[in-house]
């Protein structure tokens, strides 16, 4: 554990990616595979299921610290992290570190907590807190609460392991995908020259597009001429609608089907109709695509898909009301062969042929659960821009542009794949509440709630976290501290003065929200210091956008 704790500190103490990779390489070189497996597990952002609830941790902390409960709460609100608050309040400098490896900590101490009752857990956990150094107390408690975020991306981790194992980074990235157990065997396979039979279920790293606004020489993605200048002939590009669903991979190997989300979760049981369709695909094929709510009439609003997200199992009724399809974008593997390096054009042809062959096997009237994402054909960028302008009516977010000669890359692809999104809805709203953030934003008011006018009152309608730069955040933070009206635990109501322009992707009616509407991906576009609160939009203005959205539009 000491070695891992040291690694964590080093990663935490540097902003240089090279230094981070070097620290990980140092660690993996000397680590026992049993420890290394767990280190990979945590560094790749995986977590053990929460072993002790945060309410219990707070209670124990309050008891041990001998501070009033409200003061522990104030302190936690200021620190922004429970494990850190515990370590700061309960450990003293110079406490000796225990010699127990990471794997021993996890396997013989943490995991066995599961199934114990609260008083047994309390005796054990508080015993750990008392006897640890700050660093160990912090890490152990972090692991206990499930999350250990350390500022290392998957790619950086893969770079370090690749360097340790002297293997290409791509293979490490691929081997890290999907579900695996943190065992010595897993780690040995991860760094082995050849990991034998590739894990049956393993998906490929997703290829992502970059926003077209980021393209060099482009400052207005609305301007077709600029787009033409930046991207060249439209015939070099494959245009598709940018759908808003659940990006996923459908894997069919050795008679088994695996449906993966981009968050690397297996979601086959949540979307049984998609998984069943996968069962009819030939062996050794992997499709990239999007799960979308879609009935005979066409695509359904995203809100309908939300009814299915988060449900581990779906009942017959919901399956009937919100059927889902797999809209395929790409073919990554065929006949067991990885074809990601083949050009987009060729993969697309193969994909169309594959789906056509699949459809030919279906009985008349059978639901077409497997579809190919339609190509949007136009001879010039101006026509594409016109089509893109109609995105909202089709319930899509704009266009995807993929170079015809592009491989299926790993991670975000600037220059090869672009997303050409439509401008979001915007609304001017008044700040009502503020709350401090967590992690690096702890201690700083960064989470805001905004309202719009309903008659002469402001009703909350969206929460937004991002969109301001650091200077603005600092300035706004100060303003909030000076203009707090009331405190509700960590939340403060503020003077009704500040107006912000918010952007959001979609808007739907909602019975769960006071305002009667729910917005998707709200974020701050700019701080409108030029506007007074009387200039803010009304709830009716916002609701009008729903009508504009053309609920139930048909894009098939």
């Amino acid at each position: 554990m000491y070695a891992f704790s040291r690694l964590y500190q080093t990663l935490d103490q540097t902003t240089s990616t090279n230094a981070k990779v070097a620290a990980m390489v140092d660690y993996f070189r000397d680590a026992d595979p049993r420890d290394a497996a767990w280190a990979v597990y945590f560094l790749s952002g995986r977590r053990i299921k929460r072993l002790v609830g945060s309410a219990l941790l707070r209670q124990w902390l309050t008891e041990l610290s001998e501070l009033p409960g409200w003061l522990v709460e104030d302190t936690y609100a200021s620190v922004g992290d429970m494990a850190e608050t515990i370590a700061l309040l309960l450990t003293r400098a110079g406490d000796s570190a225990e010699q127990l490896s990471l794997a021993e900590w996890v396997e013989t101490r943490l995991l066995p907590l599961r199934g114990l009752d609260a008083s047994e857990q309390r005796a054990i956990v508080t015993g750990w807190w008392a006897g640890q150094s700050y660093e160990q107390c912090y890490i152990v408690t972090k692991l206990l609460t499930g999350s250990l975020r350390v500022g290392v991306s998957q790619v950086l981790l893969a770079r370090a392991i690749a360097q340790t194992a002297e293997l290409p980074r791509q293979s490490i990235l691929h081997r890290l995908m999907g579900e695996w157990q943190a065992t010595p065997a897993f780690y040995r396979a991860l760094i082995a020259e050849d990991d034998g039979e590739a894990a049956l279920s393993r998906p490929y790293p997703f290829c992502l597009a970059a926003p077209l606004d980021d393209a060099p020489g482009l400052d207005a993605a609305d301007d077709a001429q600029q787009v033409a200048a930046a991207l060249g002939s439209p015939h070099d590009w494959q245009a598709e609608w940018k759908w808003d669903g659940i990006r996923s991979q459908l894997v069919r190997r050795q008679g088994q089907t695996f449906l993966w989300s981009r968050g690397e979760e297996l979601i086959g049981t949540r979307f049984p109709e998609v998984a069943t369709t996968g069962d009819e695909l030939p062996d050794g094929c992997v499709l990239d695509g999007e799960i979308l709510p879609w009935n005979e009439a066409g695509i359904l609003p995203f809100a309908q898909l939300q009814r299915r997200i988060g449900r581990k199992t779906v009942g017959r009724k919901l399956l009937g009301e919100v059927p889902c399809v797999f809209l395929a974008y790409d073919l990554l593997e065929q006949d067991g062969e990885d074809i990601r390096e083949r050009p987009m054009r060729e993969r697309r042809e193969r994909l169309e042929a594959l789906v056509a062959a699949h459809r030919a096997t279906l009985a008349d009237g059978a639901a077409h659960t497997l579809r190919v994402s339609e190509r949007v054909i136009a001879d010039d960028w101006a026509s594409l821009a016109t089509l893109r302008a109609g995105s909202r009516e089709r319930l899509v977010e704009g266009l995807m542009l993929k170079r015809q000669d592009s491989a299926y890359g790993t991670g975000r692809q600037r220059g090869l794949w672009w997303k050409w999104k439509i401008e979001p809805h915007t609304v001017d709203a008044v700040m009502l509440y503020a709350q401090a953030g967590h992690g690096r934003r702890s201690n700083l008011f960064t989470d805001y709630t905004f309202g719009v006018w309903d008659g002469d009152t402001l009703v909350p309608f969206a929460k937004a976290y991002s969109g301001l730069n650091n200077k603005e955040i600092d300035r706004l933070d100060k303003w909030i501290r000076r203009n707090t009206i009331e405190r509700f635990g960590p939340v403060r109501s503020v003077a009704l003065e500040q107006v912000f322009e918010l952007a959001f992707e979609g808007i739907n009616r909602s019975t769960r929200h006071k305002s009667g509407i729910a917005v998707r991906f709200p974020r701050i576009v700019r701080w409108r210091e030029d506007l007074g609160t009387e200039d803010a939009d009304t709830l009716d203005d916002v609701k009008r956008l729903i009508e504009d959205g053309g609920e139930g539009a048909n894009a098939s």
Binding site: D12, Q13, T75, V79, R441, S442, L444, K478, R481
Partner: protein, 382 residues
């Protein structure tokens, strides 16, 4: 909570003592001011006559200008002001920093004693006078770090961490740039480091002259060299450089390629603050009282009433009240409006103190240290 005729009252110009006819640490024009210490949020050139501790005078001259009428006071020397007697007592915050004791000498409440701490700390500091405990009836205290997570290690221990980091950078042939307040923090580090080395340290233009004043006051510190902005040939690899936080991320940093950066502040105790600022290392070294120091001091003064000026005051006040102490936050009218053009350093520092996101030291420092003439790329602008 306000009581009739307080001996010291927070007004829109500073902490006013009507019975004595003076204002402590004013931020708007007054006739007579008593200044606790030379930090920009407490010392502003707004009074016709300014009284301060003797050892603070050279620093005040440097920061406020030669034209100001400054009167040095000995530690403990009683001064009569109107219906009061006033004395200065070391606060242990920076060189010359004082607590101000005010005793009422006339009227029904004659004999009543108030103490204002300015900023203070209890931990030993080789670069300034040690804190002196002064008993009183009403204690006005700062509360910058008034939460139980703020507990300091001895300066010596933190200095060891800084030295180890410097040595590590030396081994990897990188410059080590340490950011900290140019008045007080920088000199404390330079004094603490004499335990481990006698190697010279390079100083930013805002730090160097203040360090010279400390040296003239007899403070033993590492030898220092000003960074010669014109000389591009100096090899800073393996060197320790001390600079104000305002220099971080500026073009001034370009002369230290591949530098590792460290930041000295009590706020570094919390990881979120460390991460957000993007420094490689955070050293938890503060010139303010930590939580145990605040509570211990409040108890030892024997005060029956405690007022807080700035910092995380609400938690402290609530705790004291639960423990039966009459406590209140001094209302600070000046911070009510953001748009006021007279956005004083006190104001800014007050915000910053309430706010773990911005170090008051940073704010005050950038506001107080104009770049020396002839240094075009000098970076102390906020």
């Amino acid at each position: 909570m306000a009581r009739p005729d307080p001996l010291i009252d927070a007004t829109d110009r500073g902490l006013v003592c009507r019975a004595g006819g003076f204002t402590i640490d004013p931020w708007k024009p007054v006739d007579v001011s008593l200044v606790t210490h030379a930090h920009a949020d407490h010392a502003r050139p707004v009074a016709k006559v300014t009284y301060a501790a003797h050892s603070s005078i050279p620093l005040l001259r440097k920061r406020l200008g030669e034209h100001l009428e400054l009167r040095g006071v000995d530690w403990g020397e009683p001064l009569a002001f109107g219906d009061t007697t006033v004395s200065f007592h070391p606060a242990g915050h920076v060189l010359g920093s004082a607590q101000i004791r005010v005793e009422r000498t006339a009227g029904e409440r004659a004999g009543e004693v108030w103490v204002f701490t300015g900023d203070f700390k209890r931990d030993p500091d080789p670069s300034c006078e040690a804190f002196e405990l002064v008993t009183c009836d009403t204690f006005i205290t700062e509360a910058t770090f008034a939460l139980p997570v703020y507990r300091w290690q001895p300066g010596e221990v933190v200095a060891r961490e800084i030295f180890d980091w410097w040595q590590l950078m030396k081994a990897s042939e990188r410059p080590a740039v340490l950011f900290g307040y140019s008045l007080g923090k920088a000199q404390r580090v330079l004094a603490e480091l004499t335990r481990f080395t006698d190697e010279p340290v390079y100083l930013h233009g805002a730090v160097y002259p203040l360090t010279e004043l400390y040296r003239q006051a007899g403070i033993h510190m590492l030898p220092t060299l000003p960074i010669d902005l014109a000389d591009r040939k100096v090899d800073y690899r393996g060197r320790l450089i001390v600079a104000p936080p305002g220099a971080s991320g500026s073009s001034w940093m370009r002369r230290f390629p591949h530098a590792s950066t460290g930041f000295c502040s009590g706020w570094m105790r919390v990881r979120g603050n460390r991460r957000r600022r993007g420094y490689d290392r955070g050293f938890v070294l503060s010139d303010h009282a930590d939580w145990p120091g605040l509570l211990r001091t409040i108890e030892q003064t024997g005060a029956t009433r405690v007022l807080t000026t700035h910092g995380q005051a609400s938690s402290l006040v609530r705790l004291l009240r639960e423990r039966g102490v009459d406590a209140a936050e001094l209302s600070t009218r000046y911070s009510a409006d953001d748009s006021e053009t007279d956005d004083t350093a006190q104001d800014a520092a007050q915000d910053a103190a309430q706010d773990a996101a911005a170090d008051p030291e940073t704010v005050a420092d950038t506001a107080a240290a104009p770049p020396p003439a002839g240094t075009s790329d000098h970076a102390t602008q906020p």
